[in-house]
């Protein structure tokens, strides 16, 4: 894109002034309050609250379940994107439309639907129950809820990259004697890999902070199925603001690091795509 300086255009002062004012009032000052409140705890107190056994158990669960769910989405999301871009079959547009549902459905509704579905008297939970598998109120249930909300991220990040792939690349590989498997793993996958990784990171970041779709299915037992956002909520409800603040700061720092990583990945992914 050509870099132009539209210095002749009016309204910079007004637009910029309003942007910075609104950003400060709604986002920066409230977030700064959180950082300031944690600072006022003092390092020893902060560390004690942030590293309590119950908090550490919640971090392990939150980040572990998010990682597992994002990995599942990276694998299956890539397959879904591939099928949507490459194959034509009846019902394709229905599948394509369904992929966006987890974006648009309020999280509480997703949580209720998955819980009802997987409960022992639900459609799928009933089948699993007969096999002796319990999903609701276990860690497996948390992972399934996070797979649901993360599903669109990988598909919608990989899909456009696959769609813009030059056919010449694959034809050249085939003409040069590569098998189809070699073409897919050595030619297509390296080009698509950055977008899969970006989709993974987006799904992971979303899953780490997720609350609504998880609380109904998780059972929320301390040390076992209690995610960090829920532990923060519990602390708030008990007016334990110090405890909630310490946990929230840990989460905030993690989210900010992920945001920077995703932006860097996005840049890499774009340069990679443009280079091919």
């Amino acid at each position: 894109m050509a870099r132009r300086y539209h210095s002749a255009l009016p309204g910079f002062g007004l637009a910029m002034g309003w942007t910075v004012t609104w950003l400060s009032l709604i986002v920066l000052i409230p977030l700064a309050t959180l950082v300031w409140k944690s600072g006022s705890l003092g390092w020893d107190r902060f560390w004690e609250l942030a590293s309590s056994p119950r908090a550490v158990a919640s971090y392990k669960l939150t980040f572990g379940a998010a990682f597992l769910a994002a990995t599942i989405n990276a694998v299956f999301g890539t397959i879904v994107a591939w099928v949507l871009v490459r194959y034509r079959f009846p019902g394709r547009s229905v599948i394509d439309a369904l992929v966006d549902i987890p974006f648009a459905l309020p999280t509480a509704v997703s949580g209720l639907a998955l819980t009802a579905l997987l409960a022992p008297n639900g459609w799928i939970g009933g089948l699993l129950h007969d096999l002796g598998i319990q999903v609701v109120f276990t860690r497996a249930g948390i992972v399934l809820a996070l797979v649901f909300i993360g599903l669109p991220f990988v598909v919608r990040t990989v899909q456009p990259v696959l769609a813009e792939l030059e056919p010449e690349l694959e034809e050249a590989a085939a003409v040069l004697g590569a098998t189809r498997w070699q073409t897919v793993t050595r030619v297509i996958l390296p080009v698509v890999a950055p977008s899969i990784l970006t989709g993974f990171a987006l799904a992971f970041a979303r899953a780490v902070g997720e609350y609504g779709s998880v609380v109904f299915i998780a059972g929320n037992r301390p040390m076992e199925t209690e995610i960090t956002p829920l532990l923060i909520m519990t602390r708030l409800e008990n007016y334990d603001y110090a405890g909630a603040t310490a946990l929230a700061l840990v989460m905030l720092v993690a989210s900010f690091a992920m945001l920077l990583a995703i932006n860097a990945l996005g840049g890499w992914s774009r340069r990679r795509a443009e280079a091919t």
């Binding site: 194959y87 648009a104 799928i124 909520m233 989460m251 945001l259």
Partner: protein, 285 residues
Amino acid sequence: MTSETRTEPRWVRSLLGGIAVVFVGLFVAVPVATILHQAFSKGLDTYVAAIQDPAAEAAIRLTLTVALIAVPLNLVFGVAASWAIARFRFRGRALLLTLIDLPFAVSPVISGMIFVLLFGLHGVLGPWLRAHDLQVIFALPGIVLATIFVTFPYVARELIPLMEAQGGEEEEAAVVLGASGWQMFRWVTLPKIRWGLLYGVILCNARAMGEFGAVSVVSGHIRGRTNTVPLHVEILYNEYNYAAAFAVASLLLVLAFGTLIARRIVERHTADAMPLPPAARVEKS
């Protein structure tokens, strides 16, 4: 597409197609069907009664009120931010873009909590608010603030890539020909960005009406007064009133479908496929 060199053996295609259909079917279609099945499990009368319940109607009114305040405010912010960022180059521009994205990265629970730390009874401004008999937390202002926070980037994130792609030549021409700033915006910029703007507003509205975590922290769950529709659904569910919970939840399902249909309509009026917000950040920033 079907040329020999660019496709897999038939059994591989069937296998991958099958995996995709089963995965999306199990994870999306079946849960959606469950909502409708549960909502109508006790018959149409129960469904209608659940939605016409005074507490449900109060929740619907509150949700509409919150969206009616939060969405226009973020609309104005989105237009201002995208005008500044897409039409001018200045120091700190990349930082500003990242800061606008921040609410996407923050957990909903933290999004609500920061306003409790500011305006709650023991918050920074708590004593002052109490002295002046003002209530923010566990009242409408807190719910509106948390909603504005979680929907903060939506409109700006739709408009910035759109306006960058369009360029500002027409606006420059209008100004050179003597248009005032307002005339330029009203007759040149607004017609250019209206579909992108509409799409941003639709997404912003869907999130505003459906937000659960952030609003849950600041609402206080006072039935008939500070319960939004998602919170009302939660309460009904926790009272084991499943049919009613899913009946009210089905209203939010309709909102989700409406949002996706509106997206298709907007896409038809624009050349580009409209990405949903997080994807927009990756592809176009």
